[in-house]
């Protein structure tokens, strides 16, 4: 097409030249250039579906700092490249516009969310943990040493990584927070 330019590719001319108007003659330049976008990916991460516990393999294609496709990993002996509708919607899960990317804060008795930067939020949360822990510390219970707080509780873990659960349990336990729970009991 380089030598002829667009005019020679104009479907009308090509059809007049005798090419089948319903086959090659009808192809546009865009059509000719079509390739799977996954070929353009700069990196392909080997991942695992975040929905249920079957553990299907996923390949995550990234181009220009954006996820361009998530599909099944054919190498996985568990899933053999297949995904269910939820797994197939994984790209939308990580790219959809409803995803929150900023910290939000609701003050006591507040009627609306307010913005808050992450560092400030982290400091505020740390302050509250330290204060609540101190205020609710229980050294003994019915004469027995317990060294704990019933003032702080946590819920969550089944959607998290093992490493995350480990740090959570380790930190909560060291702080004396025992009411640590997740979906496994629910």
């Amino acid at each position: 097409m380089a030598d002829g330019g667009w005019i020679s590719r104009w479907p009308v001319l090509r059809q007049l030249r005798g090419e089948d108007g319903r086959r090659d003659a009808a192809r546009s330049a865009r059509t000719d250039a079509l390739r799977p976008r996954t070929e353009q990916a700069e990196t392909i991460a080997r991942s695992v579906c975040p929905y249920c516990a079957v553990g299907c393999g996923q390949l995550v294609y990234v181009e220009d700092g954006k996820v361009t496709q998530i599909e099944g990993d054919p190498d996985s002996p568990i899933s053999r490249g297949r995904l269910c509708p939820k797994g197939s919607a994984s790209k939308q899960l990580v790219t959809h516009p409803g995803r929150q990317t900023r910290v939000l804060y609701r003050r006591p008795y507040g009627t609306e969310w307010e913005p808050l930067d992450l560092e400030t939020a982290m400091d505020m949360i740390a302050d509250r943990v330290v204060r609540t822990r101190r205020e609710t510390w229980e050294e003994t219970h019915e004469g027995k040493e317990v060294r704990r707080t019933l003032g702080i509780a946590g819920l969550g873990g089944a959607t998290l990584d093992n490493e995350e659960n480990y740090l959570m349990k380790k930190l909560y336990t060291a702080l004396g927070a025992i009411q640590v729970e997740n979906q496994a009991r629910i």
């Binding site: 975040p50 060294r147 025992i178």
Partner: protein, 834 residues
Amino acid sequence: MAECHPVGFQWVMEARLRGAKVFHIDPRFSRTSAVADRYLPIRAGTDIVLLGALINHVLSNELYFREYVLAYTNAATLVSERFRDTEDLDGLFSGFDPETRRYDPSSWAYEGDEGATTDEMREGGVCHAEAAGSDSYGARGAGASATPPTDPTLRHPRCVLQVLKRHFARYTPEMVAELCGIPPEDFAELAEAITANSGRERTTAWVYSVGWTQHSVGAQYIRAAAILQLLLGNIGRPGGGIMALRGHASIQGSTDIPTLFNLLPGYLAMPHAQRHEGLAHYLETEGADTGYWGHRRSYLVSLLKAWWGDAATEDNDFCFGYLPRLTGDHGHYTTVMGQIDGTVKGYFVIGENPAVGSANGKAQRLGLANLDWLVVRDLTLVETATFWKNGPELETGELRTEDIATEVFFLPAASHVEKEGTFTNTQRLLQWREKALDPPGECRSDLWFYYHLGKRIRQRLGDDEIDRPAKELTWDYPEEGEHREPSAAAVLREINGTGPDGRALSSYRELAPDGSTRCGCWIYCGVYADEVNQAARREPGSRQSWVAPEWGWAWPANRRILYNRASADPDGRPWSARKAYVWWDADRGEWTGHDVPDFDLRKPPDYEPPEGARAEAALAGTDPFIMQSDGKGWLYVPSGLSDGPMPAHYEPHESPVLNTLYGRQANPARRIYDRPENPYNPSGAARFPYVFTTSRLTEHHTAGGMSRTLAYLAELQPELFCEVSPQLAGEVGLVNGGWATIVTSRTAIELRVLVTDRVRPLRVQRQIIHQVVVPYHWGHEGLVTGDVANDLLPVVLDPNVYIQESKAGTCAVLPGRRPRGQALLDLIEEYRHG
């Protein structure tokens, strides 16, 4: 399984093409039923009747796998003379205290073992049970004698097999018809199929999900299946087993490395104030000295060393005293009641949505509204984060935004592709995920959050005694990238553990009791063997054996089938060529096969333990169940359960039907919350005539935060609906596509109506019972919204593990939409009091 685990179901479809027969037993005709060979509708909450009748069928027709049962289970073991069965006590086992509604399990023990469990503080005792102690048996059973008296002829009236026979004798096909609504001819077909398909040449597998666990007798459902599978020789063998299909990507991992109140990593129990005086006493009371649990000192001391490093020494009990103590139930629902009562002030909710996903949503939200502060971390603004702005209690006037004092922090989370780490799937397989890209904006991983929160908290602590556990905690992980993300690989390596030389350990067998090794979760030891992240292995399935051992890493020791010693006969030979899995290679003097043998590699089949042997040395060469103190599969549980040594059918807490098996209507040991926020439907009340059960849909995920927010999933199932039979639709006046209101004592919700022949009214006790099936994915946020189905449910719990009874209740059904505001409260009030 097709409905909620479609990709896993490919293997079932493939098995079908190879001749496997698939039975689907479910109150709901789902997508699984559509492709099963046989669908058996069952009344929700009656599976123990069905399983019990199958057990009875196997026992009374001598269809059990005798060699397997005799060698590998406790069938021959003699039970204490003091034991009394439900047969003797009309639905109660011996040891029940009606005052406390708790069992003293000492009379359930093996003969000669009775003394071991008389102390209510000990494992299996009342205090143990009150702290969900039964739930710590994810890796073993309770302690019992390694060498109890037995009768290998299986004729002794007190041997387990005979005890079982008597116990299950009343579980007949007629009872199945009367309580489950399954006709005798259908039962016969099922019984014939599973027994014909078990034995040397064949195995049968059972698959379950929360339809079996979310009951006030949930743990006993699984026990019933375990008894059946042990009798048929279907445990530890390829194609056998009882598969739990779990609904969250790492729900198994969050049990192994527990974000659960009663457990430490690796199913070690959290210490209990009344039961444990110190490290030595803890180790003495938690489990037996025989079997692999005999090494628990190594597991626990290595954990304490991983957490407190050099601060943990022999002299200070390795900082055992730094662990906070339980005094009873501190589970999710008790925590929620603590929020309502004001004892719980601060709450972290991480990737979970209790305002939609937990039973009695109103109690959940009232708890949230009474906190000082709440931190929610998620991908989107889930209902738990917006309860103060958008919750149903605002519409009814029970809450006013301006009156809610809770300070709320919403922190956006990184998605699964924006961080690295491992999930543990439903088969105990750890798979490492590579990070694809950085998270957007202020989104961070939960690893980042807890690591940096911990750093900040530690900076703020003083030199008080109470601050020492946190100050001395090992909390130094390499930081990576501009966000200073802690290294997940370093955390995984800590979980794996290191030896005296600082190198990664290869196996839990290397763990030492003297503090020279560190290990964050003993069952995961080996995941970083040879300093290699074994969970990241990705040898393509097509290039390895059908067991695929080089894809990821399964705990323990990369074994893909647990207790696989049982796949060989007592002499170590495969039961059949067709079912060969691991076997004894006499020439090489070791176990070998397709999988990593779940046994001492060099222990020959004829090994007999010497007198006084400990740990695994105390188990014979024919004892496959190496985590058990006696090496046997337990048909009868002498210790460790809170509601009986064998399963018994009790009706759900809310049921329209009388329990005709026993004089006890519901599980006598079930956990009840008798509080104004948690009113119950009276059992048998005519105004709540229908069975209510919740379900899931392929197109959505649990509480909906990861599916109702996505257009491609929301469009596939856009509205909350109920499935009803044409008969019920006629009775109530429901129209397909119209609206219905479902009422319980908690609240009323409105739903669209799907009238379908798939829902079949059941004939139970000569009456017609209608079941209403409701998927629970909806809430008030997201692209598609709807009422919260779990708001209908009461909080009533299984006494072993404290899971709620979500899968069987009662309800009323009205045509049309529900009233709004005060009128809704009036309607509930009317129904509550009849």
